[in-house]
């Protein structure tokens, strides 16, 4: 039987397999190196896609190590759709199970952060509300209000200082010394997603808002968890990041 695209695909991803035998050159000789052009294109183009998606991971691991790891990753997890903008979703799980990096347990969360940056970049647009509306609303109405959060807002919580690590690699700030957990939101004020470190309790507050709970309920949850929860800073990050896109006060008492 003539080899088909199943044989071609297997040989593409496995350099130890021979070339499909129906591939020849102009003189009828076996295709040899000519087939390797496709093998190289596939691995190189997918590796480049990962380099674009995970710049901080690449800096942390070094170009050479990242390249070798990407070669393994692309063969284990080829893309499942032509939407290359989302390629690499299996990277956090891959890193968790990848023995050579087990001494760096924060890497899967760094990969999650970088995936969330891309999701934010491509998320739907939404018009923010005028922050004056929040500032001038009577307190009881504000507590009963429900806020819509922009689709580009992404929330991440980690046992590791992932914001500080990301910032050190991206902006040259000092690497964190203590391995304490951090929570952050990614906001997209216009087109460029930016991670912002949340104060303690901030993640609880934002998550409650995203779940559609009233402002007062979200605040209760945050202050129950963290009695001195810094509402002003958290709200300031949401407003500066154009992340509040509607406020519904209809059920105010």
């Amino acid at each position: 039987m003539t080899p088909d695209q199943t044989d071609f695909t297997e040989a593409l991803l496995r350099p130890d397999l021979p070339h499909p035998e129906n591939l020849i050159d102009h003189a009828g000789r076996p295709a040899g190196k000519r087939f390797d052009v496709y093998r190289n294109n596939v691995v190189l183009s997918l590796t480049e896609a990962l380099e674009t998606s995970f710049p901080v991971l690449q800096k942390l691991l070094g170009e050479q190590f990242f390249g070798a790891m990407a070669g393994l990753f692309v063969r284990q997890h080829p893309p499942t759709t032509p939407m290359m903008m989302h390629y690499g979703e299996e990277m956090p799980a891959f890193l968790t199970g990848f023995e050579p990096v087990e001494k760096y347990p924060y890497l899967p969360d760094i990969a999650r952060l970088e995936l969330a940056m891309r999701q934010s970049y491509h998320a739907a647009d939404a018009t923010p509300i005028d922050p004056k509306i929040i500032a001038t609303l009577p307190a009881d109405q504000l507590m009963a209000a429900r806020l819509d959060i922009a689709p580009s807002l992404k929330l991440l919580r980690s046992r590791w200082p992932i914001f500080s690590i990301w910032s050190a690699q991206t902006n040259g700030t000092p690497m964190p010394e203590a391995p304490s957990g951090e929570a952050l939101i990614i906001t997209r004020a216009e087109f460029d997603p930016a991670p912002q470190l949340l104060p303690a309790g901030g993640a609880t507050f934002v998550m409650a808002l995203q779940a559609g709970e009233a402002f007062g309920q979200a605040l209760d949850k945050a202050t129950t968890a963290i009695p001195d929860f810094d509402l002003q800073t958290t709200l300031g990050l949401l407003i500066a990041g154009n992340a509040i896109t509607a406020m519904k006060t209809g059920d105010a008492q």
Binding site: Q5, T9, H26, K33, Y38, A49, T81
Partner: protein, 285 residues
């Protein structure tokens, strides 16, 4: 959402759009009268890519060039992907829509490369029926691009040109002639590029691509050119392009550059050169 003023691509020069050139283009695109995008890069929900595309499409005729449909795949077309393409084309209302004679998806794997096909009746049937499905879904004619060949198939029994003609006849699609691909394939397969152009059904061609390539050698020391799109257009390609225009008349022509992206002025310069060739060859003919 865009008006109907760009019903077809102008018979001038376009450039493959890259986001880093946005600001330069908005100041005036010089010799460039239209832009081509890779469909898959604009299938997100929002953000900068779609905002830039909106600005471009208000000013210039657009061409949507798919790189991920896997027209030549043995399996069914990916319906989700086809729907995304329909959505993009419906929103942008481009003057032209094209895809490749290649496959890139097998079962659930997307391989992110344009992979080759044997030329025989079985493949003609499959490719024609996939193109018909695409044209029905997207609601417009598709242009099919000739590939760059690095190798051949022992189970091919027809020429590439006969293959393309037959697919165009059965599906009603048009053709996109990539002159760089002709040069790459002809060199790699020891054929004559000019004879290929002379035999090509130029009346079916709705668009021409010009680009650059890399040079390597195969196991026997024979030249092996690689369609890399990361180099300027070389002299042999300019000559072949001039020959094509002489034979087929003016066509919309694209400068295609996907890697090693130069400053805008350099691409605009190549566009001006293409335009110059198109004008002067016509005058001499």
């Amino acid at each position: 959402m865009f008006d109907q003023s760009f019903e077809q691509l102008p018979k001038g020069c376009g450039v493959g759009y890259k986001p880093q050139h946005f600001a330069d283009i908005m100041e005036g695109a010089g010799a460039v009268s239209w832009f081509e995008i890779h469909a898959e890069n604009y299938m997100g929900d929002g953000g900068r890519p779609l905002a830039q595309l909106r600005h471009l499409a208000e000013r210039y005729a657009m061409s949507v060039h798919g790189v991920g449909l896997s027209i030549g795949g043995e399996g069914d077309l990916d319906q989700d992907h086809l729907n995304r393409l329909k959505h993009l084309v419906g929103w942008l209302n481009p003057a032209s829509f094209s895809e490749h004679l290649a496959w890139s998806t097998h079962e659930t794997h997307f391989l992110n490369d344009l992979l080759p096909l044997p030329y025989n009746d079985k493949t003609v049937q499959r490719v024609s029926s996939h193109i018909s499905q695409v044209q029905e879904t997207v609601g417009r004619q598709m242009l099919l691009e000739n590939p760059s060949n690095y190798l051949a198939f022992s189970d091919s029994d027809m020429s590439e040109i006969d293959f393309l003609k037959e697919v165009a006849k059965r599906s009603g699609c048009g053709l996109l002639l990539d002159v760089n691909n002709v040069f790459v394939s002809a060199t790699n397969q020891k054929m004559n590029a000019v004879e290929y152009i002379d035999a090509f059904p130029l009346d079916l061609v709705g668009e021409i691509h010009l680009g650059g390539h890399d040079e390597d050698v195969d196991d026997h020391g024979d030249p092996l050119l690689i369609d890399s799109h990361d180099q300027p257009v070389v002299n042999q390609i300019w000559s072949l392009f001039a020959h094509t225009i002489l034979r087929g008349g003016k066509k919309p022509v694209l400068i295609e550059r996907d890697g090693n992206i130069p400053p805008w002025d350099e691409l605009e310069g190549e566009a001006a050169q293409a335009l110059d060739i198109m004008t002067n060859v016509k005058a001499a003919a």
